[in-house]
Symmetry: C2
Subunit: 214 residues, 2 copies
Amino acid sequence: MKALEERIQKDGQILPGNVVAIDNFLNHQIDTALCRKMADAIYEEFQDEPVTKILTIEASGIALATLIARLFNAPLLFAKKTKSTNIHHDIYETKVDSYTHGDTNRVFVSKKYLPSTDKVLIVDDFLAMGEATRGLIDICQQAEAEVVGIGIAVEKGFQPGGKYLRDHGHRLKSLAIIDAIDEESGIITFRVQDDLTELCAKKALPNKPSFERN
Amino acid sequence: MKALEERIQKDGQILPGNVVAIDNFLNHQIDTALCRKMADAIYEEFQDEPVTKILTIEASGIALATLIARLFNAPLLFAKKTKSTNIHHDIYETKVDSYTHGDTNRVFVSKKYLPSTDKVLIVDDFLAMGEATRGLIDICQQAEAEVVGIGIAVEKGFQPGGKYLRDHGHRLKSLAIIDAIDEESGIITFRVQDDLTELCAKKALPNKPSFERN
């Protein structure tokens, strides 16, 4: 997605260790107008799937997932990191290592919100090692719910998460895939992808649903 | 807001200790269609304020705050609970006690995303003791940014958070205020409020902005 790639190149802050901080428009402060365009692109990618639930993990994927859930007219479910005393019923739980934070979290969802009939679109803002996404897939497998797709804002293509998911047959769409970061020049190289959003816009395809979806 | 009150009465799960769990449509699984109506109502309440930033706290306030940020065409900033290794710059930090989780978190925002010129609308899904909201106000005070309003989905009117904020001169709008919970009958009593959304709908006031705001 061109607009996202340009924004990463313009506003991303390159840090040592192949890190691009994008907390000025996606991870901490969120440009919700750009986020809406990203949601449109994910929706257009997966609109042929019978999505019944959007699943993400707290916290920074929730904004994008919310806008995508509106488009699919589906509930949003987010995996939680701490067990609230309000939640007494049965849960599906999994372990997620965070390389960014250098720790491990146990995350969970309530069983009653993920029935086996659900067709799940997993959404997250970032994919690098793929730990969070694989944790969400594990939760869906425990629930025997079908993962129909994975929509990611930014993938680090030089880390193994994306390859692992594609090799395992998952339908994965990352709006921007960073293949290389040159710390010296500040140039970020993105993988060339078909951009369905732009194709649709160019061809004026009837890719918008008729219900109010905002 | 009638639709929210009805949903709390219908789907809220009353637990011992005056707790109403609303994790089936707001705190864990999120009904984003209802959330959009709630965002509309908060927007209508504060549309006369020159809001430049929406501030919330991770995680369950982010969905509502995202939709409100779209309406104001303003960036969303959410206070984080853990320090990412990606964030090296200066932060405003505050302490938030959580009575629900029975613990204390330090939350922070990056200084560069909260300049003193900001006019901040604080948003959260829940207000009871008011700890989270007061933490966000504290962060705004450190930044010398002006808090122009506080928009809350559900307030527990029998706990002191709302009264404290109103007594301190804050413009607070809670879409539903629970004044009493009868554990035996399951009846929840809501405070009677002027419902600006419904008034506007009835009078067909021109309360919608003309720009695309979804």
